[in-house]
Subunit: 345 residues, 2 copies
């Protein structure tokens, strides 16, 4: 099985998700700038995977700091954290992971610089291990929600490639299958970056899970035909009221699900829930470069000089969400109470 | 200005819509097989343009028939009509145009073979001329529905490229602009064939109409932001009850429009209305080759051997349609009465 992101001999190794499924290439990053660039350029993507990569980027940055006294170290360390935080604005796991690393640094100043570096590397590796375990728990809770012989539609890739492994939305599918259920998947291709066509299709096929690819605009047709029993997607940030920011197009899929009486589940770890943001309208939405829309594999598919919008995410209002599947169980309406309660469990 | 399809020295010339916007290439067809192939392979597409091309294909086929007596001629002529009717199943304009040509042949047997051939060529050219005139009338009726300073979302290409010229949905936009209104357009790219990105963006830009390209799954985001005042699309077949078959994804756009309180208009000539079909579920929906989804410009974008669905159209139920704009005026609910009345006007 492939590894999405890995700490290896004081480097960070990531599968290059830009060239999948054509080639399975692993890039090695030796400093935090490299990791920051990889996050920005979407070598690695998916909220939990971005969190893990950012933590490893922070650890790698810390390792390379030459300062020997703690004060000078902390000054450089803050720059490292800032660099990684500047890569992408929407997925809150990025900030969550960086904050966790910063807390470890603050709490362990007494260790001295060299020991703190080791402690930071250990923390990043723990975030990685934790993430897989969290996904397995999400998969178990979510798997119980799916019926035997069901067909699930998913949007974008919230799979092993979007996490340290196993996946959130695809973790739910894996959990159901491991629980003995037969589950087939429809994958939206997810323009413009084609995470569905390139990544979800690839990793499910590799796992021998029945997957059918459609373009994003076919989901309505497929649902109207009665072919979908449930929708499961991931999330990049969940507001305190249960509004969900996720890959562009998720909002439309949620509306379609509502229209057709299909349950719409969001699978995400607690690190995706941002209780500091009251509702979805306040979640910052990244707008990416227009060439993602106008070009495919380096080839132009639209007229030169055309105006383009390229919001990378949208917000699905909580009223369209049937349940949020976390590692601590499934939260249902009203979300404000349920989500808050997760953090005191 | 470009010409979508044209009768020229007893050949049919069409702009090759598969290579737009990269290249403006005109293909010349000298027999009905060539025209049939061009319709099937989407050199020409768009319901009204398919109708015009089919009529010209029938005329071209008739011209090439060697039989000198009417009985033998008619036998060959039926084969020509059958060939053209077998090209694509959903757009009813194809069958409408072929029927019109067959009626001319039946009604004019007395002319003798050579004169009948000329009569058929004249009829095809009249269908072409009529279509432009019809579009202009649609544009005038539809243009009145748009407010000044409005932004219109359109899906696929129902423009000059989808008709003999001027367009249906884009005809409405042109009509509004010619009426002195300021109109900006958002164009869905329209996967898998990218009619929006390649064709609508191209022809509107050529006409200096303000156009912004988005991927299909961004329409919900853009509407939620309050950026869209009206949706206008074309149609491939309208059932007697007002259900509308149009390019895959139209149904989703209509649902999104309803959700956001945005009027959803369908612009189409009477030749798109099929009173023989009671409701949309009975409209045949073409499923096209999977490579349209898995490949772009000859390059694979999905894993090898992946299962794919590729329905080319979907059906928007009449309850989501604010109005159907025809060359005889705008029809509103209840559609069954209004559509029927059009044909006795």
């Amino acid at each position: 099985m492939f590894k999405t992101v890995e700490w290896k001999n004081n480097t960070v190794v990531m599968i290059d998700q830009r060239v999948l499924p054509d080639r399975e290439v692993y890039n090695t990053y030796r400093d935090c700038k490299g990791v920051a660039g990889a996050i920005k350029d979407m070598v690695v993507r998916g909220a939990p995977a971005i969190g893990v990569a950012a933590a490893m980027g922070v650890a790698l940055g810390a390792l390379k700091i030459k300062a020997r006294d703690m004060k000078a170290f902390k000054k450089e360390f803050d720059k490292v954290a800032k660099l990684l935080a500047s890569t992408r604005p929407t997925a809150v796991n990025l900030f969550w992971a960086i904050e966790r690393m910063k807390r470890v640094a603050s709490d362990n100043e007494g260790l001295g610089v060299e020991s703190l570096k080791k402690r930071l590397v250990a923390e990043a590796r723990e975030i990685h291990r934790d993430d897989i375990e969290i996904n397995r728990r999400i998969g178990k809770f979510g798997g119980n929600l799916l019926k035997d012989n069901s067909t699930v539609l998913t949007h974008c890739n919230a799979g092993a490639l979007a996490t340290a492994g196993y996946g959130t939305a695809l973790g739910v599918i894996r959990g159901a299958i491991e629980g003995g259920k037969r589950v087939a998947v429809y994958a939206d291709e997810t323009r413009p970056f084609l995470q569905g066509a390139r990544l979800t299709a690839w990793e499910l096929k590799k796992d021998k899970i029945d997957v059918t690819l459609i373009t994003d605009n076919m989901a309505g047709y497929i649902m109207k035909k009665g072919l979908i029993d449930a929708v499961v997607v991931g999330a990049d940030r969940i507001a305190a009221n249960g509004d969900v920011a996720n890959k562009i197009g998720t909002y439309t899929v949620a509306l379609l699900a509502k229209e057709h009486g299909i349950p719409f589940y969001v699978a995400a770890p607690l690190s995706t829930i941002d209780l500091n943001i009251k509702h979805g309208d306040n979640i910052p939405i990244e707008e990416r470069d227009s060439t993602e829309v106008t070009h495919l594999k380096g080839k132009r598919i639209a007229p030169k000089g055309i105006s383009v919008r390229n919001p990378a995410f949208d917000v699905t209002p909580n009223r369209l969400v049937t349940g949020i599947i976390t590692e601590k169980g499934v939260v249902r309406r009203p979300y404000a109470n349920g989500l808050k309660a997760l953090f005191s469990k």
